[in-house]
Structures are given as structure tokens and as C-alpha cells.
């Protein structure tokens, strides 16, 4: 059962080939057996999983099943789950049990999906390697000496190793797409505002967006159908009606114009990755698409702009972690100042502290105009770059990352090298566009991801292109040896 797609599992449950309890037991058993080598989960509550699976079986028996009823789904530990710890990978929230469900979690519960567990992640989603978690680093199932990418590395590793058929992640600068690329799975970051942010612990509010991570575009579409939609409790969520993302998966690619930004194929892109991407683009050409060279002239400003805006928002979003109402509190504070400083000193890891400091500086009196305001102006230019491209082409394609997964520890002491990991993904968040990563080959046994970027609310078209690509290729069907029992 574990090697089936979500679509196949739905069919199997409907046909009573297996029950949801059996299905979930299978994944619980795999987590128990394989996750010690990966560390992809922070919390798994077996009895809650089985209770939910039993309820799902009853619902299926009663003929009242929704599409995802009974399907196990792992959630990044950034989504608040009522009665279950939500740590965000931080010591600060190690003891935090939310009194409410994130809207995304409620949506899955309403469909009867089973919450399989909460996945590991970079602390407060700040990172590109899933090494900054308070709960230890996550390993890449393709080679446990490698990072799985981040910050949604736990979700990516869990899906890649078939510890969960599908998972959710969040993407502020590439945190769904980059780990999907590193782990050889499919992930989509929807348009900003498509999925409610309520109940998702905030990193950078104007950039954060949740999305599905699974083996295929079709499975992502099935999950996104459940996740997307207006939420009256998130003022930035879109009121635009949600399409059925499964409906157009088979549309032809004939006449599709794909833009290739020259800035995404220049220096910095590793040769092996470049080779995989160009082969994937040839495949898309064979499916009827036309390749057009385009330009995103302000690409070189993406990283500086992002690393002002994201830390600025983060610095204030994280002010609430003060030891007063919930989360970590230092022992025996002598006064208020001591309570604040020791709580935050102890509760946050180094990368989080670095971003709080950078963000606080960028918003300070006298620096605001030079940094935050300037970065917002750059952000507008980057948006305009994309708008101009979309006048010529339907989607934009390129590599998700400059190269495949790197070794654990290789970049953890060099924040700037780590930031450069996201050079192709950050602009999508700054522009609020949907972007996805699709498995497109391997370099020395390490997966490579093809990035597709769409127009605002163009998720259906992206999923359609990825699905057609996956009909013609089998990269998304490859599984890491450690997960298939073939590892020596």
C-alpha cells in the first residue's frame, strides 16, 4: 500500500481493497522502522491516528466519504493542531499545545483525512536544509549523509521515503519547492492568498504560503482541492472561487509557450542540474510546448530584497514569543528584562536570532528607507518583471535549485551560501506567484527538480503541465533504496 499514489489509495479504500485502519497502520509501521534514520517526524500520535482512521472507515462504509477520507496526510509542524504539540521546530514551542486547529488542518479533518503526524522542519521555517530544528536535522532518504532541503524537509523526506503518501509544507522563499527537488518529489506553492494562513505559525506574513507535497502532480491536485479557498479569518486569503485542480490535468500542452529566463540558466547553475533541466524542457517541447527565452532583469536583486523583507516581518512576528503566555519561559526570572532576554536567548536557535537581528535593524529609525522601503520598491520591480514575461509566455520554467542536495553540515556555518540555495525560488514569493517543483532527473543519484512558475491563480495550469510531463516521464516514480528495502 505504501507505494501507491494518493489517487490509487482513494480508489483502493472505495473498493474496500483495504481499510483506512490498515492503511494507516502500514504507514505507522514504516515510520517506526525507517524514521529513526531520517528524523522526518517530530510528533506521531498512534492512537489518534487509529481513531481517526476508524472514523474514516465508518464514514466510507456509510457512503459519506469525501475524496480524502481515510487518507493519511503528514503535516509540517508549523500548522496548529488542537490538543497536539505544534513546535515549529523550536525549543520555544516545545511545550506548546494549541487550543485550536489551523484552517488548513480543519479542512483536512472535515474531509476525513487522517492526521498521520507532524513533520520536522527548520526552526520557524528559517532555513534551506532542515538542519536548524530543535529536534535535530532531517536526513535525505536518497542518501542520509545529505540534507533533504528545507524548511519543509521533514515533509519532503517522509513522502520520498514513503512514510506518508502525501504531506503539507509551507513556502516563504522556496521551502516547499527546494526540499521537493532535493527529495525527488512534487510540490506546489500556490499563489499568495490561495490557502489560508490562519493557524500557520507566521514567518514572513507577506510571503508565507502553504501547499501540498506528494509524489505526483495529480496527488498534489487532490490535496490542493482540499486546502485552497477563502478563509474569513485570514484577511489576505483570496475570495476568488477555487477551481477543481484535478479537472484539467489532462489538457494538451500543444501551443503552450514556456519562458526560460536567461538569468536562471547562467553562472551558478551546476552542469549536472542544467543537463537534467534541458532534457526536461525537450520533453515538454515534445509534448507540444514552445520554448521562449525571456528575461527577469531584476533577478540579481532578489536575494537582497528578500533578506530584508522576510527578516523584517519575521522580527516582529516572533516578538510574541516572550515567555509571558505560552511556550518556553526561562527559569526564575528576576525581572521583566531578564524574563525577555533569557527566554528568547534560550528559546531561539542561532539562525532565528540572526534573522530577528537583521530584521530589527532593517526596520530601525534611520534605516527603514534605505532597507525596508527600498526592498519593497525592488519587490515591485520583480513583480513587474514577471508581469512583462507573462505577456509573452504562459508559464516560466527553470531549475528549482542551482544544484542537487548537499551534505549535512556543508553550509550550516555559512549563512550566505545557504541563502544562495534559494536564488531561483525567492522571486516567486516576492511576486506572490504559484510555483512548483517537479522531479526531472538525477545527478549522481541525487534528485533534480524542474521549477514551473505560473500566473497568479494559475495553479491548475501548472498542475496540468506537470501531470502531462509525469505521464511522459518516470522520475516521479523513482524511490530511494532505503525506502524500498533495496538498500544494502
Amino acid at each position: 500500500m505504501h507505494d501507491k499514489s494518493v489517487a490509487q489509495l482513494i480508489a483502493g479504500l472505495r473498493a474496500r481493497q483495504f481499510s483506512s485502519v490498515e492503511l494507516n497502520r502500514c504507514f505507522l509501521e514504516r515510520i517506526k522502522r525507517l524514521d529513526p534514520a531520517l528524523n522526518s517526524f517530530i510528533t506521531v500520535d498512534e492512537s489518534a491516528v487509529l481513531a481517526a482512521a476508524e472514523a474514516a472507515d465508518q464514514r466510507i462504509a456509510a457512503g459519506a466519504a469525501a475524496p480524502l477520507t481515510g487518507i493519511p496526510v503528514a503535516h509540517k509542524d508549523i500548522f496548529c493542531t488542537q490538543g497536539m504539540r505544534t513546535s515549529c521546530g523550536s525549543r520555544m514551542l516545545d511545550n506548546f499545545v494549541p487550543p485550536y486547529d489551523a484552517t488548513l488542518i480543519s479542512n483536512f479533518r472535515r474531509e476525513g483525512a487522517v492526521l498521520l503526524g507532524k513533520t520536522n522542519m527548520d526552526e520557524f521555517a528559517m532555513g534551506s536544509s532542515s538542519e536548524s530544528s530543535f529536534y535535530g536535522p532531517v536526513c535525505n532518504p536518497w542518501d542520509t549523509r545529505l540534507v533533504p532541503g528545507g524548511s519543509s524537509g521533514g515533509s519532503a523526506a517522509a513522502v520520498a521515503a514513503m512514510l506518508a503518501p502525501a504531506a503539507t509544507g509551507t513556502d516563504t522563499g522556496g521551502s516547499i519547492r527546494q526540499p521537493a527537488a532535493f527529495c525527488g518529489i512534487t510540490g506546489i506553492k500556490p499563489t499568495y492568498g490561495r490557502v489560508s494562513r490562519r493557524g500557520m505559525v507566521a514567518f514572513a506574513s507577506s510571503l508565507d504560503q502553504a501547499g501540498p507535497m506528494a509524489h505526483s502532480a495529480e496527488d498534489c491536485a487532490l490535496l490542493l482541492n482540499c486546502m485552497a479557498g477563502f478563509d474569513p479569518l485570514d484577511s489576505t486569503s483570496s475570495e476568488l472561487p477555487v477551481e477543481d485542480y484535478c479537472a484539467g490535468l489532462d489538457h494538451t500542452l500543444a501551443g503552450l509557450r514556456i519562458g526560460l529566463p536567461r538569468e536562471y540558466f547562467g553562472a551558478g547553475l551546476e552542469a549536472g542540474t542544467a543537463g537534467c533541466i534541458s532534457a526536461a524542457l525537450k520533453e515538454l517541447e515534445a509534448l507540444g510546448a514552445t520554448l521562449v527565452e525571456v528575461s527577469l532583469p531584476h533577478s540579481h536583486l532578489t536575494i537582497p530584497a528578500y533578506y530584508v523583507i522576510a527578516p523584517a516581518e519575521a522580527s516582529t512576528n516572533l516578538s510574541r514569543f516572550d515567555g509571558v503566555r505560552y511556550g518556553h519561559r526561562c527559569k526564575d526570572p528576576v525581572d521583566l528584562h531578564d524574563l525577555y532576554t533569557r527566554t528568547r536567548e534560550e528559546g531561539f536557535g542561532p539562525e532565528v536570532k540572526r534573522r530577528i537581528l537583521v530584521g530589527t535593524y532593517a526596520l530601525s529609525a534611520g534605516y527603514y528607507d534605505a532597507y525596508y522601503k527600498k526592498a519593497q520598491q525592488v519587490r515591485r520591480l520583480i513583480k513587474q518583471d514577471f508581469s512583462a514575461c507573462f505577456e509573452q509566455v504562459d508559464i516560466i520554467a527553470g531549475p528549482t535549485t542551482p544544484g542537487p542536495a548537499f551534505a549535512l553540515g556543508a553550509k550550516s556555518d555559512d549563512p550566505v551560501a545557504m541563502y544562495l540555495e534559494d536564488v531561483y525560488t525567492l522571486a516567486v514569493n516576492l511576486a506572490g506567484l504559484p510555483g512548483m517543483s517537479v522531479p526531472a532527473g538525477f545527478v549522481d543519484g541525487r534528485p533534480v527538480g524542474l521549477q514551473l512558475i505560473g500566473r497568479h491563480f494559475g495553479e491548475a495550469r501548472l498542475l496540468n503541465i506537470a501531470h502531462r510531463f509525469q505521464q511522459a516521464t518516470d522520475w516521479h516514480l523513482r524511490r530511494p533504496p532505503m525506502a524500498t528495502g533495496e538498500a544494502s
Binding site: R198, G199, V201, T316, L318, D322, R325, L336, A365
Partner: protein, 480 residues
């Protein structure tokens, strides 16, 4: 040297919405600590603000009430600082693009003159919680019931020149917002809190001196005292050739003094930036016009109308228009009795006097406006004298019934039967032959004084019920 005081006020007005500005929690005052604090108010991770439409509406009503420009696109910002009763570590406020721009309104001074005071801006923001320093054995308790209560911060121009003007401004503001129904204006419960910016300059100078800001002033009386105190303090420094330090001071009502806030209490850099969790508030003409169409008559308009329509003096009009309830009461009395001037007099003197003595609000007044009108009608139709009317009013206040019932039950109806009165006049003349002689011997001037004696005797005989005018007429006829 003669100093001129220059004052600008920042008023934090709690808006009377049922729920908070960014969450669905109730805003009722006085609930058990932390029983009106939801996950949003506690700033639980992942919670997001959702703007209360009624708060926006109230802000626009205020803007229209002072003839201000309404921001067509106002933006919420985060104001960042750490404090235990500020759950998010930032306050959602409006900085660069407030919802209400420049406006002005008229205040009335005690000498009856009026002045127009400029409003720089008014913006929406959320209130913080409360830190409770007592009863926690040296620790601090946090009550987040108030956190997220909608506030309208109203910033005046430095147009006020004295403590009296500042108080007049606050009273006018109080009157305006309660007329609009956008705040209960209850100062004791903190619905209107005031920060005072104050500086001095030599009379005749037109440059502003260095100002200090006095925070935490929560009643009209304290505003007056704080300004008087700060004036003395600044004047003393300036007279001695010193310089005023621009600083934030706290008014301590118990000690009646202002003192500088400790540096830790002053946040220097709020790191304002646009709140990414909320969209800009976009307001169109149709929305503004729909609110304008529903605005009630405002205090200034009402005051002017009372002068024009009823011929009241400006002081009387000001007193009667102070609250919507009193104005409505007065107009109901005037309508019931048909004489606005007498109605105005009765409402101001007798009614407000009784309310003040009993420390009652108008809502708890035992005499209805139509009933008071009914009483005044009996004065106007000479059924009773003004003096008797006061007795009747007293009885009405005690719940003994309507004016007519009391007059009937107590037999207070004025004696206007000329036959009966004539008999009494004759009796008095007969019994006071000496005084009659004196009267007849006196000149015109003295007679005017002496006639009062006979009137008094007749009134005594009639137990105060004789119609004084008729008695006068009869005496004039008989004493010849």
C-alpha cells in the same frame, strides 16, 4: 514675563463596538480577568487579525462629524515594542495613512464665546491589556480583556491656550462622540484617555516652545490640574533661565504632580511598518454618503438651532445641548407645554438640580418630559403659581402622580374666583384699617411698596392659592 500656554491633546477614545477590533471577543467592561480574551487576543501563534467593520464605520462617522477628510485608502501599521500586556509584541495602529485626516470643530468657552479647534488626524488602533501590580505577591498579573478593544486616537492641533480651553475641548469632544453614539464616553472606565502636549512661550511670540507630553490623564478634573501644574513647573524653569527638556511625563493624581517617566517606560523606536496581515482599508464615496445620510444632528448644530428656533441664550443652549438625552428631554418638555423658554428654565434649574442632588442620570429621572410639560402648562394657564409648581414638582419627583393629580389631591389649584377673592380682599382691608389709612395718605412711590403688604395678607389667608394678579387688580380697585 507673561507666558502663553500652548496645548495639543491626544485622546484615546474607546469605540462602542460589541466585539474587539481584530477578534470576535466581547468588549464588555469589568468582566473577570482574561474571560474576554480569545486566541487572537492572546496572540497565539498563527492567529490573524480580522478588521471589525463597525469600528471603521464609527471612525468615518467621527470624521464626518468634524468635517474631516476621510482617508480613501488607509493602512494599518505595526508599532513594535515589548510589554507584557501587549501580547503580539506590537500594536496594530495606523501611522502614515490614517482613516481620518484634517478637520475641526467648535468649542464653547464659559464666557459664551466659541473657538474652532483643529484636528490633525484620527486613526484606528487596538488597545493593550492591563498590567495588575497588586495582589500578586510582588509579581505582575496580566488581564487581556481590554487587549484589542478598538480605539480612535484623536490628535488635536496645538490650538488650545489654557486648562479651561482644554477642558472645554474635551467636553465638546465627549458631547460629539456620545451624540454620534460611537463611544460611551465613560471616563471612569477609561473610555476616553488623554495625553497632553504642553509648551510655553512669551505672550506675543509665534514660535512654539519645547513641549512635554503628559500621559495617563483620565478625567476632566485631572486634565485641568495636570495642565496647571505643568504650567507652573515650566514657567518656573523658564523664569530661572532654564530650558525645558522634551520628555514624557506621567501625571500622578494621588500626589497631584507630574514626573518624568523612567527611560525604560519610553520606547524610542517603534519600527513602524505596514501590517502585512491586513489589507489597506479602501473606502468609496457611496459608503461615505450612506454614513453621512445617517448622521444625527450634532451638538454644534443643535446649539445653533436652539438659539434660532427657541430664542434661547447661547449659554442655555449649550447646557441643554450637552447630551443628546438632555436635548431630547428639553425638546419634549417644550413641545408638551408650548413655551420653550419656561421649559428651558425648568429643565436647567429644577430638573438638573434634582438630578444633581440625587446623583442621578437623566435615564433614571422619575419625571417624564410630558409630565414636566404638563406641570408647566398649569403655570401657564394660571392654575398654579410658580411657587406652588415647585411643591408639585417635588411631589411628582416622589412619585405621587402627575401634576394634575397632585394639584387636585392637595387642593393646590389657584383661587381665581373673583367673588371669593373679593371677599378675602374686603376682609383684609377691614382688618387692617391703620395700614389702609397709611396707604391712602402715601404718594405714588410709597403706595407701590405698601400694596405688597395687602397682597401678602390675602395670600396668607388663601394659603398661597390666590391668583396674585387678580388680587392686585382687586386691591387697586378697592383702595381708593
Amino acid at each position: 514675563m507673561q507666558w502663553e500656554t500652548v496645548i495639543g491633546l491626544e485622546v484615546h477614545l474607546q469605540l462602542a463596538t460589541r466585539s474587539k477590533i481584530f477578534s470576535g471577543s466581547a468588549t464588555t467592561f469589568g468582566a473577570e480577568p482574561n474571560t474576554q480574551a480569545s486566541a487572537v487576543d492572546l496572540a497565539m501563534p498563527g492567529t490573524l487579525p480580522v478588521l471589525n467593520a463597525q469600528a471603521v464605520r464609527f471612525a468615518v462617522m467621527f470624521g464626518l462629524g468634524i468635517g474631516a477628510h476621510i482617508g480613501r485608502r488607509s493602512v494599518f501599521d505595526r508599532k513594535n515594542y515589548f510589554y507584557p500586556d501587549l501580547p503580539k509584541g506590537y500594536q496594530i495602529s495606523q501611522f502614515e495613512a490614517p482613516i481620518v485626516g484634517r478637520g475641526s470643530f467648535e468649542i464653547q468657552l464659559e464666557d459664551g464665546s466659541t473657538r474652532s479647534i483643529g484636528i490633525t488626524r484620527a486613526h484606528l488602533e487596538e488597545d493593550a491589556g492591563k498590567s495588575l501590580h497588586e495582589d500578586f505577591h510582588g509579581q505582575t498579573g496580566i488581564d487581556l480583556n481590554r487587549a484589542g478593544t478598538p480605539l480612535l486616537e484623536i490628535v488635536s492641533e496645538p490650538d488650545l491656550r489654557s486648562a479651561a480651553e482644554a477642558v472645554a475641548y474635551l467636553k465638546a469632544l465627549h458631547s460629539l462622540v456620545t451624540y454620534l453614539g460611537i463611544s460611551d464616553g465613560n471616563m471612569a472606565e477609561g473610555s476616553m484617555r488623554c495625553d497632553i502636549n504642553i509648551s510655553l512661550r512669551p505672550v506675543g511670540s509665534d514660535t512654539l516652545g519645547t513641549r512635554t507630553e503628559i500621559k495617563n490623564v483620565n478625567s476632566f478634573r485631572f486634565v485641568e490640574k495636570a495642565i496647571r501644574h505643568e504650567f507652573e513647573r515650566q514657567a518656573e524653569i523658564l523664569e530661572d533661565g532654564g530650558r525645558i527638556v522634551q520628555e514624557t511625563r506621567l501625571y500622578d493624581a494621588d500626589l497631584d504632580e507630574t514626573r518624568p517617566m523612567r527611560s525604560k517606560e519610553v520606547a524610542n523606536d517603534y519600527r513602524y511598518f505596514p501590517e502585512p496581515d491586513l489589507l489597506p482599508v479602501v473606502i468609496d464615496e457611496a459608503y461615505i454618503e450612506s454614513i453621512r445620510a445617517e448622521l444625527p444632528e450634532l451638538p454644534t448644530q443643535k446649539r445653533h438651532r436652539f438659539v434660532a428656533q427657541y430664542g434661547l441664550g447661547s449659554y442655555d443652549a449649550d447646557v441643554l445641548a450637552a447630551t443628546r438625552e438632555l436635548a431630547d428631554y428639553f425638546e419634549a418638555v417644550a413641545a408638551a407645554c408650548g413655551d420653550a423658554k419656561i421649559a428651558a428654565n425648568w429643565v436647567q434649574v429644577e430638573l438638573l438640580g434634582q438630578l444633581n442632588r440625587g446623583e442621578l442620570t437623566l435615564g433614571a429621572c422619575p419625571v417624564s418630559a410630558p409630565d414636566l410639560g404638563g406641570l408647566i402648562r398649569r403655570i401657564l394657564d394660571n392654575s398654579i403659581s410658580g411657587k406652588i409648581a415647585k411643591q408639585v414638582f417635588e411631589a411628582m419627583w416622589q412619585g405621587e402622580g402627575s401634576a394634575d393629580q397632585i394639584i387636585e389631591a392637595r387642593g393646590l389649584k389657584q383661587m381665581s374666583d373673583s367673588g371669593e377673592l373679593e371677599a378675602m380682599v374686603d376682609q383684609v382691608i377691614t382688618a387692617n384699617a391703620g395700614q389702609v389709612e397709611q396707604y391712602l395718605a402715601a404718594d405714588e412711590e410709597r403706595r407701590k411698596k405698601l400694596v405688597g403688604f395687602f397682597v401678602g395678607q390675602v395670600m396668607k389667608l388663601s394659603k398661597g392659592q390666590a391668583n396674585p394678579q387678580m388680587v392686585n387688580e382687586l386691591l387697586a380697585k378697592k383702595l381708593v
